[in-house]
């Protein structure tokens, strides 16, 4: 918690200085300043509620414990990925490897379980595999000046290829493996018929990850360094922030979270792991991060914003599946259009702020 100490607390106030005016005027303008960086996130939030209300009116049974909870459970892996992606993007990087890492860690983990390894050890190893890919990418980026795009592209290829070498057919976790425990349904609210609010340990893990990431980004030194690197790397370096160490850790965290998403996803689908899992998930994660208001140029953004971004994507999918008349062909076009709209909004806001 030491990271939260501000300069004002450390340095004793100099006597004889005029009191700084922190009257309501300052408060309001500061609020406005703040809400400007929050504006894209707020727009996303509005859009989310708009979509949900529209879906409720048009198709019904949306504000329905069963629907909401199953949506949350099925998007738990995406939430975990979006958290990792947010951290990477705030540092002005990108991680294209997450989808492929999900595939590798789930195939490798399930195969280890089938070889008779202890289930819990395998789960830890699944996360470890992800962290390892992240470590390689981070070292390439930091110490060999490889662009994040290329380094994580290489990891994406490597993870996908290795997963395919391990198995090109689905592998299924053995009966009674602890992995499957992660998909147990916990009924929190026992509603009438199927209207139950159920969560799974997988969703709980996602929530813990979100809370942990918010704490990490806002209350730890390393988290603040991430913002510093994204804002201006050379300034961060000159300020003596541990840029090199932090950057490598950023990618390790992102990789480990991808491994964790692999654990949660594999549990959710009943222990079945495939080498083709997770194709395009990195795009979902990037889209969620952008919709949630994080600048792709780094330095600004919030983990919680990205979670709203995930919900926007989830609501979009929900509407399209509930509607049924929308051609699935249009799904990618619509996703693209929403993404474009948010990027344009970001662009408009940042260019206004610069003026």
């Amino acid at each position: 918690m030491s990271g939260s100490r501000t300069l004002a607390e450390v340095v004793p106030p100099a006597p004889g200085l005029p009191e700084v005016d922190q009257a309501p005027r300052g408060l309001w303008s500061r609020l406005w300043e703040r809400s400007q960086t929050l504006l894209p996130t707020l727009v996303a939030l509005l859009l989310l509620f708009g979509m949900l209300i529209y879906a409720e009116i048009a198709y019904g049974r949306v504000f329905h414990a069963g629907t909401i909870s199953s949506l949350l459970v099925s998007f738990a892996p995406t939430i975990i990925l979006a958290v990792g992606m947010t951290i990477v993007i705030i540092s002005a990087g990108i991680d294209l490897s997450v989808g492929a890492v999900v595939a590798f860690s789930s195939v490798a983990g399930v195969m280890l379980m089938n070889l008779g390894w202890n289930g819990w050890v395998s789960i830890i190893l699944m996360i470890g595999f992800g962290a390892l890919f992240g470590l390689i990418a981070g070292v390439m980026i930091q110490y060999f000046n490889v662009q994040p795009f290329i380094a994580t592209l290489a990891m994406m290829f490597l993870a996908r290829g290795l997963a395919s070498i391990l198995s090109t057919t689905p592998v299924v976790a053995p009966e009674g493996s602890p992995l499957l425990l992660l998909a147990t349904d916990w009924k929190l609210i026992d509603g009438p018929k199927v209207n139950d609010f159920t969560i799974t340990p997988g969703l709980l893990i996602a929530i813990v990850v979100v809370v942990g990431a918010v704490f990490f980004m806002h209350r730890t030194r390393m988290g603040r360094t991430v913002y510093g690197i994204g804002g201006s790397e050379s300034s961060a370096q000159l300020m003596g922030l541990p840029v090199a160490k932090t950057r490598v850790w950023i990618y390790i965290i992102s990789g480990a979270l991808a491994g964790l998403a692999g654990v949660v996803y594999t549990a959710e689908v009943g222990g079945k792991a495939q080498n083709v899992t997770g194709i395009g998930w990195e795009l979902d994660a990037i889209a969620a991060v952008v919709i949630g208001g994080t600048l792709l140029t780094g330095g600004a953004g919030y983990v919680l914003g990205s979670i709203i971004g995930v919900f926007v994507i989830a609501a979009l999918r929900l509407i399209i599946t509930k509607d049924g008349t929308i051609n699935p062909e249009y799904l990618t076009i619509i996703t693209g259009a929403v993404l474009l709209a948010f990027v344009l909004l970001q662009r408009a806001l940042t260019s206004r702020r610069k003026q």
Binding site: I94, A100, M140, Y143, F144, N145, V146, Q147, F149, I150, A151, L153, A154, M155, M156, F157, L158, R160, G161, L162, S164, I165, T168, S234, N275, V276, L283, I286, V290, L296, T297, N327, P328, E329, Y330, L331, T332, I333, I334, T335, G336, A337, L339, L340, V343, L344, R347, S351
Partner: protein, 361 residues
């Protein structure tokens, strides 16, 4: 010795070495790998080498377009989707015209495919140059939308068509070489002439090296940026035509899938820096050939084709490490070059590496 050193430092030199190594591996596995025979029914030459050249044609084209985009410090993630769009338009047109021998039908299909791709490329260009979006994100949007557009064009079907002249694009031969490969090389040469004999190439490089300085030197970035994305999309559509003409079917989800990554890889192998600036058309072509050879080699060695990415990853990692200053200063004992005036990189001294002496000689 000096010439050798220059060659060692030329990125595409390693690409050529890579191609020969892969061919060597294949020949070791099967001594008849390089043999070229004649197919008795069609009278055309057949052989693994010709196969490699044929599948390399689309990669050469998209890598060519990508080279210029990357040279302006951009990236075009939409080329794979553009291939699908081009292929979808062509197949849909051909199956609607329904004339299996008409050359006119082929030309119409090609023209429509390129036209639509050029329009979409212009959208990319405007988003990047006029609106000022990051190339990464605007072409990402186009990548998602393009795949959807291809689906809408064919109604979600994998349309197939019969048109003999069009089929000849990939399956015919000119002087024993696959038609598509010959056409791709002709296009590369034409564009290389355009870039190097006019100031266009220089302007593209200057935008990539320093946009502000080039602006002050009187280069207007917008038309050039738009042109670069239009060119990339158009070339990708032609690549898509080549790739669908091989089987005369467009697969809306499969055609050009992840080809943008192959294109980027080819450009990186060719030595064009992703940070923009100087580009090498020849290098990108070598890179595209290396990737085609790699794809075929992995298949030939009996590794499942889904595992190909792992080998590509090893190639990328080896190449970027070879190109990185740190490795070079270890290997060649050079001080991290003086090219980078900003940011005092840690000098290589103190690594305790005795190789350093060699460089002085």
């Amino acid at each position: 010795m000096k010439r050798l050193k220059t060659a060692l430092r030329t990125p595409w030199f390693w690409g050529i070495v890579g191609i020969f190594l892969l061919l060597l591996v294949n020949t070791l596995k099967d001594p008849a790998y390089l043999a070229i025979g004649v197919n008795p029914t069609t009278g055309l030459l057949t052989g693994n080498l010709l196969d490699i050249l044929r599948v390399s044609a689309p990669i050469i084209l998209i890598a060519l377009g990508m080279t210029f985009v990357i040279a302006t410090e951009g990236i075009d993630l939409s080329v794979g989707s553009m291939m699908a769009v081009g292929g979808a338009v062509a197949m849909e047109t051909l199956s609607n015209i329904g004339d299996p021998t008409s050359v006119g039908a082929m030309l119409t299909a090609i023209a429509l495919a390129i036209l639509l791709a050029v329009l979409l490329g212009a959208v990319n260009g405007v988003l990047v140059a006029v609106v000022g979006l990051q190339p990464f994100i605007s072409t990402l949007v186009m990548m998602l939308a393009g795949r959807g557009i291809a689906r809408v064009i064919t109604g979600g079907q994998n349309t197939n068509a019969t048109n003999e002249p069009f089929r000849q694009l990939a399956n015919g031969q000119i002087l024993g070489l696959p038609t598509s490969f010959v056409l791709a090389i002709v296009i590369v040469l034409l564009i290389a002439l355009l870039m190097r004999r006019t100031a266009l190439g220089l302007m593209i490089e200057s935008i990539g090296i320093n946009p502000h300085a080039s602006r002050l030197a009187g280069i207007r970035p917008r038309p050039i940026l738009i042109a670069v994305y239009v060119l990339s999309a158009g070339l990708a559509a032609v690549g898509g035509l080549f790739s669908v003409s091989e089987v005369m079917t467009v697969s809306v989800s499969g055609t050009g899938n992840q080809m943008e990554l192959d294109a980027i890889l080819a450009v990186v192998i060719g030595g064009t820096s992703l940070a923009g600036g100087k580009f090498s058309i020849f290098g990108s072509t070598v890179g595209a050939l290396l990737i085609a050879t790699l794809n075929k080699t992995v298949l030939f060695l009996g590794v499942p084709s889904a595992a190909t990415p792992a080998f590509k990853a090893l190639v990328i990692i080896a190449l970027v490490l070879l190109q990185s200053e740190r490795i070079r200063s270890w290997a060649f004992g050079r001080k991290p070059s003086a090219r980078k005036p900003s940011g005092p990189e840690r000098p290589a001294v103190g690594t305790g590496n005795p190789v350093t002496k060699e460089a002085v000689a």
